[in-house]
Amino acid sequence: MSFLKNILARVGLDTRAPHGSEAGHASFDVIVIGAGHNGLVCASYLAKAGRRVLVVEASEQAGGACQTGVIGGDTRGSRCAHLLRGLDPEVIKNLGLHRYGLKYAARTMPTVALDYDGAHIIFSHNPWQVAESIKPHSASDAERYPEFHKRILQFAEIINHWNGQTPGRLRGLFETGAFEDLSADAKALQQMGARFDVLTAEDKAEFLRLFVSSVGDLLDRSFDTQLLKGALAFDGVLGRAAGPFSPGTALGLLQQWTGEVAGTKPGIALPEGGMGAVIDALTRSVVARRGQVRCSARVAQILVENGRTVGVELASGERIFAPQVVSGTDPKTTLMDLLGREHMETRLATAVDGITQEGVTAKLNLVLDRMPKIRGFDPGQVPSARFIVAPSLDYIEQAFHPSKYGGFSPDPIMEVVFPTLNDASLSDHNEHVMSIIVQYTPFHLKEGWDNHREDFIQSCVDVLGNYMSGLGDHIIGGELLAPVDLEQQFNLRGGHWHHGEPDLAHQAMMRPAPGISQYLGPVKGLYLCSAGCHPGGGILGLAGKNAAERMLKDRVEPLRTVRSAHKAHHGDDEVEAAEADVSYGEAAQ
């Protein structure tokens, strides 16, 4: 069956009108804006289906927030995202990423909730093991944990199923006003809820309540131990401008737990060679399918003619034409800057304006001359784990408050990984990489970032020093990437890791904004595949996959003429010259 599909796709490809770009460039079926992981996943799926794909990337290096680079001296590390927590197994399988070189340096990594006295709680995919480490804190919490773990995983499974679906349109769903009259959108919703039906009535009620709950309230209902609640709440707030008591963060916890990596759930893995290895594998999979990836090619504008997308114009002025354009850069940039307000209904433009996109998550990458001693572990016995500093709900809440008003807390919450424990390829001198995510770091610092970087780094190191004695003495290099730096270096608008706040008002049918949640842009032939779309942030690859599936379903209309596009952009004088240049559409008929 699948080979038949491929052949048909190829036949379709051959009969399509020849079309391409100016001056000697190959012709393409699809242009993908941005070689982040979602852009590449989308490109790879499309290429696999026989489409001629060109990926254009603004930076010199592909990957966006998912890349390996020098962090100090000649030691390398994952500069931004640093763990795989659910790159969709389907995506890995469909695109053959292991075949194209994706390897794990560590899989089934545990999470260690750091305790000041060394009585750490260690999370893994085995709830009974977790319960053992909770026991010293509270016997009753230890007893309750496995049930909680099972329930959250069960709920996460529903979310997981939902993540792989295109959300229905809110508008389309109720077009007729009668719910019984199921439109395609209603069916999409029904499918999204398919797994929901297997729950007991009681679990259904609880699942729906979790959508509007805060993770803090959920945990207060469930446990007494502060360390346990702090570590679990960390997952609920990670990457979000929300505190543990903000509604919607319980959903954040479920979303983090959807991830399956290397066969375990919730899974955490470390790609060998850093996160850039994921991008390398994806790039290879695109190229192997005859796609092209062009770096240092910043798109300045999405070209629209007669109400349809015809290609892109690069910052260099070069124009590339294709009947479909899909953007892996964030929806706000895509729609407001590259497409332009004039191509949107006022209402949609207002909705896009309403996307909140100011990141609160910084990355601190340190190079250490040796591993620090971690309280509670024998030297040399430090496990390859994800370490969490979030000792209680109130501690997280307190860390959150200053970030709302353009400040940072002297006691931040953090996630720490030492990738070099498993991956020697990152350092040539037996140095260690300490990769730290610092949550609640504002994009706009009231007093400006320039004079406060040192204070910020110092408070992070001080807090970590409580758990890792003498840490300060081992630091020999590193870099701080505050959200402002992430924007500059990785083209992440607002320094937001998820391409837009994943709050309740921007989930599922409302992500990135109501009216454009089906990966379909407001202009024909334009699609969105970024983390700003459902199912959102993290290195999942699902937005790319869902968008590709959507694009493959749509009928592609060949480009006919770009006459009026030229009229609009060059003025009447040049129209005739332009016509002579690019009247390929007519020549084909």
Binding site: R171, L173, R209, V212, R221, P247, Y405, P514
Partner: protein, 549 residues
């Protein structure tokens, strides 16, 4: 042994509405009132230094269904709904702004500040009115059953294609986002936020920057316009007490028995069915239908031999959040304060005056509250009650006012509320008012602080939360106070809950009482039919119970 068709524990608005409605339908009803809750106590809110009774917080009854006023003939019992009032904001940085109840007046007023905001306001009001109409399908002011979870989608569908996503988006958003996107004037944004504080939003326990906080805008009493089905914004003459007195009189005339100063020993049940109530002192009143108009934690955790109730149910009751966030300071003054930027009549009208700077300041107050600390600049709602001439004892005339203070935690992280903390809070409130009314401190004769713990004691509400449980979305509609109880799953047959933590309660006073009565009347009558007791007999019973306790 006495037997009634229905026993009602507690005589708040809902309990009395149930009592009157059931008695009207021919059921024999007895209302058990705890010590301190007898008829005469209704008017005693918080006794001031010179005998003035400061009203309880439930003095704003904008959503008490008009239908009940008519059906029970409450105006015949002296109920006088007040006129709609126009609240105002005084912000130290952004000046004073009145929220005219009359839409055209408000638009004219705004036009002087910003024509953008004047237009945006008209658009906003029609938006909120539209959304409120959808919400009204959930909250039937005629007391119909609340919709269940599975009714949700078809109900939302009736909102049509545009209303649908507007509504979902609004419900998920924060106040600050929604107001910030529409308006330019800080004063207007703050005022529109402030008018929601006394209602549903004030029970949520969220700040204006929290997701879902914008749902509070749907309960903005000033946006109801012609759709309003309740009494409207404005105190009933005599406050909530006047409503209670009118309801009590109506219930008595309909044959309801009142037993005062009763203390419940235990709700007796057998084979999963309610059998009656045992009182302290040994009396037993038999029934097969019992309504609790008390805090649900009190009802289920202290009126039962609770080990007899299903364990999961008890846990679920205990896990509901009821973190209080309102306190009040009652002032006795020897002069009428002048508020900068507002005419004298404004205060005299008794309309609420909000003293707060902007939404950021409010969010900061909420931050402190989350961490169980006293906020530095809590939002304050100032209300003037009236003047008493000092002819009798030679003293000058006295004025009475209350400042409701928001985001005040019930418990402090650092320990008990000490006198020092109380004094600090009072001076914080006084200073806020002095900031907009210079010289206020000179007219001050007395200031008394009422904390959540005092509400707990006075009204029997655990934690002192005036809604009985927080009204955030995870505890609203079919989650209120928890999914089990919202779905009507009660641990026993014949038990009904009509306290403040029901699905209907945050939306309209008295609605729960009506809806419970209708549910009971819809069910086949249980137990042997009994006659209402004659009034004389009732008095004797009351005396007996009193003597015994």
């Amino acid at each position: 042994m006495d037997r009634y068709d229905v026993i009602i524990i507690g005589a708040g608005i809902n309990g009395l509405v149930s009592a009157a409605c059931l008695a009207k339908a021919g059921r024999s009803v007895i209302v058990l009132r705890a010590p301190g809750n007898a008829s005469a106590d209704y008017t005693a809110g918080w006794r001031g230094a010179d005998g003035f009774d400061f009203p309880t917080p439930a003095s704003r009854l904008e959503n008490f269904p008009r239908r009940l006023v008519q059906d029970l003939g409450l105006e015949g019992y002296g109920l006088r709904p007040g006129a709609m009032q126009s609240p105002a904001l005084v912000s130290p940085s952004h000046g004073a702004l009145v929220r005219d109840v009359d839409h055209n007046d408000m638009v004219r007023r705004l036009r002087e500040i910003s024509s953008h905001d004047a237009d945006a306001y008209t658009d906003y009001i029609s938006f909120i009115t539209r959304q409120k109409r959808y919400l009204n399908q959930f909250v039937d002011l005629n007391g119909g059953a609340m919709p269940e979870r599975r009714d949700l989608l078809p109900l939302l569908a009736s909102a049509g294609q545009d209303g649908m996503w507007e509504g979902a988006h609004l419900a998920a958003s924060s106040m600050k986002e929604v107001l910030g996107r529409r308006f330019q004037s800080e004063a207007l944004k703050t005022l529109l936020f402030a008018t929601t504080l006394g209602g549903y939003f004030g029970g949520m326990g969220l700040g204006p920057m929290a997701p879902t906080s914008a749902t509070g805008l749907l309960m903005d009493p000033c946006s109801l316009g012609e759709d309003a089905q309740g009494l409207g914004y404005g105190p009933v003459e005599g406050g909530g007490a006047a409503l209670l007195v009118a309801l009590e009189k109506a219930a008595m005339d309909l044959g309801v028995t009142f037993a005062d100063d009763t203390e419940i020993s235990e709700i007796v049940h057998e084979k999963g069915e309610v059998k009656g109530v045992a009182l302290e002192g040994g009396q037993f009143i038999e029934t097969s239908t019992l309504i609790g108009d008390v805090d649900f934690k009190v009802l289920f955790l202290s009126m039962f031999a609770w080990k007899a109730l299903p364990h999961d149910f008890v846990l679920s009751v205990a896990a509901s959040r009821n973190r209080a966030l309102v306190a009040q300071v009652n002032f006795v003054l020897d002069g009428l304060p002048e508020i900068s930027g507002l005419p004298e009549e404004f205060l005299r009208s008794g309309a609420p005056l909000f003293v707060m700077d902007d939404l950021t300041e409010v969010e900061q107050a909420h931050d402190a509250w989350t961490l169980h600390a006293i906020p530095e600049n809590p939002p304050v709602e100032f209300r003037f009650h009236g003047t008493k001439d000092g002819a009798e004892d030679g003293a000058g005339s006295r004025n009475y006012a209350t400042a409701y203070v928001y985001y005040i935690p019930g418990d402090l992280a650092i320990g008990e509320w000490s006198d020092e903390h109380k004094i600090r809070l009072i001076s914080t409130v006084v200073n806020r008012i002095v900031g907009v009314s210079p010289g206020f401190e000179k007219s001050l004769i007395d200031a008394k602080l009422v904390l959540p713990v005092d509400y707990e004691e006075r009204f029997g509400l655990v934690g002192g939360h005036l809604f009985g449980a927080n009204t955030a979305l995870d505890q609203t509609l079919f989650n209120r106070p928890n999914p089990e109880m919202a779905a009507g799953t009660m641990p026993l047959k014949g038990i009904y809950f009509a306290g403040p933590a029901t699905a209907e309660a945050p939306f309209a006073d008295g609605l729960t009482g009506l809806s419970v009565a209708q549910r009971i009347l819809a069910e086949p009558r249980r137990g042997p039919k009994t006659q209402s007791l004659p009034v004389q007999w009732t008095r004797a019973l009351v005396n007996r119970i009193r003597l015994a306790s």
